[in-house]
């Protein structure tokens, strides 16, 4: 068994209670930090640990925190991002349900490190049960003196409230999330040269971090940054990572493993291998916004750098496994349906370009494709990187993967004038109508 950082108190059938959390050393990091470390020192520890954001972009967490030094006075905010609406991703749900106080302690430590006054726990509507769980645990933490005025007798005060979203994938994007909280239309917003850490919520410095990122903090503080860094299996990684495995595997689920665990090992050992009768064809290694990864690459260690080296991304480390029966053109159409529907409508490539790409793929899937559609798709998918936010480039990733590794399959659609795959072809109504927006 490898070392557990996030699932230390996992009970499988219910969340760990505050008492259970404390028995295992919970809130010790907070007490330690308040007693021994200045806020800046906590930032330094996190920077030293090599922790990178678990929300998808992998931004070095310590660097983000350190940028708060010298920011303007007035209220500061921490926003634990639990929007998690990327298809295939459910790690934050499992995490919150497993050990809510671990996440809360992480948030409070982050708040201390950047001297925030208020936390806003942003949570998607399909996690309403978890929102209620969090609200209950917040009360317990408050009663126990971990939240509110003068936390643990120090002069640091901080509290957290839950913000319920009304549901849109784009609300997970940090700047859109800030607008969503304020009650504005949640389009991402960028101001040239200005970051959320300078002007976020109500124009005040704001830290947006993924819930999993924050849950790593207590261990970094209590066991030290070097320890954290070293539990990774690759030198380029740090810490453990929650891997969501879904699709045609025996044991879909969320697994905590050291950063850098090889993809094959995760699928074959943790997730129990492919379902009987299924053969591995491809997976999306990091959620819907990453490229199809073919079998020839499945030995890759799962960390940011190793994947990057072979042209892939860790994303949310949600491994979606497709088997040999699945038409990847159809799968890509399904993914584009999602992106087309969820586009915030702000910029042209995403709003109008994605429907165009989906149209081309639908034509191909239905046997009306033309040779010229392939270069058109490739070019349009390439142009997505010039969209306003990271949504559209993410949407283009599966298409780029499809064309890079499975162009033959696409061409087969053209040459046969219909979908060549059993899954897609079998008639009899087991594949449902494409749900167009």
């Amino acid at each position: 068994m490898t070392e557990k950082v996030l699932f230390l108190n996992q009970k499988f059938d219910r969340p760990a209670t505050l008492e259970e959390y404390r028995e295992n050393g919970g809130y010790g990091a907070l007490a330690l930090a308040l007693e021994k470390y200045a806020p800046g020192q906590v930032c330094d520890l996190v920077a030293e640990s090599g922790l990178r954001g678990r929300g998808g972009a992998g931004f070095p967490t310590g660097r983000k925190w350190l940028s708060f030094a010298g920011r303007k006075q007035g209220p500061r905010y921490v926003v634990p991002n639990t929007d998690e609406m990327e298809p295939g991703t459910f790690k934050d749900r499992v995490l919150v349900n497993c050990d809510p106080h671990l996440v809360l302690e992480g948030i409070i430590l982050a708040a201390y490190a950047i001297q925030a006054d208020q936390g806003i726990f942003f949570i998607r509507p399909s996690y309403e049960q978890d929102a209620q769980l969090i609200e209950g645990e917040l009360n317990r933490a408050r009663e126990a003196g971990y939240l509110g005025k003068n936390i643990l007798g120090s002069d640091f005060s901080f509290d957290i409230e839950v913000h319920r979203s009304a549901g849109r994938y784009i609300c997970g994007e940090a700047s859109a999330q800030v607008r969503a909280i304020q009650g504005y239309r949640p389009n991402p917003r960028k101001m040239p040269g200005l970051h959320l850490t300078e002007r976020g919520l109500w124009d005040q410095p704001t830290l947006v971090n993924n819930a999993e990122t924050l849950a790593c903090i207590p261990a970094i503080v209590s066991r030290g940054p070097q320890w954290f860094k070293k539990i990774a299996r690759t030198p380029s990684g740090a810490g453990t990572k929650l891997f969501c495995v879904s699709g045609r595997v025996v044991r879909p689920g969320c697994y905590e493993l050291p950063m850098g665990t090889p993809l094959r090992e995760i699928i074959e050992q943790e997730a129990g291998g492919m379902l009987p009768g299924s053969e591995f064809k491809a997976c999306l290694p990091g959620g819907a916004s990453t490229r199809f990864l073919p079998k020839k690459q499945w030995e890759v260690p799962m960390d940011f750098e190793s994947l990057k080296k072979i042209g892939h991304q860790l994303g949310t480390s949600s491994i979606i496994v497709f088997d040999h029966n699945t038409c990847l053109v159809a799968a890509t159409i399904n993914l584009l349906n999602f992106f087309v529907r969820e586009s915030c409508g702000w910029c042209t490539p995403c709003r109008d370009g994605l429907p165009f790409m989906r149209h081309l793929l639908l034509e191909i899937e239905h046997g009306r494709g033309k040779e010229e559609y392939i270069p058109m798709l490739r070019s349009m998918a390439g142009q997505m990187r010039h969209a306003y936010c990271a949504f559209a480039p993410g949407a283009a990733e599966p298409v780029l993967g499809l064309l890079e590794y499975f162009e033959d399959e696409v061409r087969e659609h053209l040459s046969r004038g219909k979908c060549p795959c059993r899954f897609s072809d079998a008639g009899g109504g087991f594949r449902r109508k494409q749900c167009l927006t």
């Binding site: 609406m85 399909s126 495995v245 879904s246 699709g247 879909p252 979606i320 497709f322 087991f430 109508k433």
Partner: protein, 164 residues
């Protein structure tokens, strides 16, 4: 008309908030739960409570997935059409549910019990295929499971609203 009790509770919350606009989603939810959906009356009440214009509320209401500007049933079945559930739908859950209830996606049963809405990944991929009913996750879906669940819901008298 909004019952005095709800209005009072919302007004108190709004008055206590440094940025009342932050509450707009909560207020929409609250009125939606009261009226069954965010009808025009409710939308105008949201606007009035928060000193927004109806247009400003509509800008938000029409952006979000879980705010209903048209009537929905007592139970809203958000059936996942995310990629994981999609690949498990050899007996398409959506088709099955629609056939069972005799409605098309997006429609409500004539008795006002169920509305079926295809939805993006509900974050229950480890239990694919999955759906969400009034804020509660269900999966993996099989025809028997669906039959049983809908039957149970029909007989529940309370609305079981976590959120719709």
């Amino acid at each position: 008309m909004l019952p005095e009790e709800i209005r009072h509770r919302l007004e108190t919350r709004i008055a206590a908030s440094a940025h009342p606009r932050e509450l707009v989603v909560d207020v929409m939810y609250e009125l939606q739960n009261h009226y069954g959906f965010l009808n025009d009356v409710a939308l105008r009440e949201v606007a009035e409570l928060l000193q927004l214009t109806p247009l400003e509320v509509e800008e938000l209401a029409t952006f979000y997935d879980f705010i209903y500007r048209r009537p929905v049933g007592r139970f809203v079945l958000h059936v996942c059409d995310g990629v994981v559930c999609w690949m498990f739908e050899e007996q398409s859950a959506l088709d099955y549910i629609c056939k069972l209830l005799g409605v098309a996606p997006g429609e409500t049963t004539p008795d006002g019990q169920f509305t079926v809405l295809p939805t993006v990944c509900v974050g229950y991929c480890d239990h694919a295929p999955a759906m969400l009913i009034n804020g509660k996750l269900y999966g993996p879906l099989t025809p028997e499971f669906i039959d049983r669940t809908l039957e149970e819901l029909r007989s529940i008298s309370c609305d079981l609203v976590l959120c719709r």
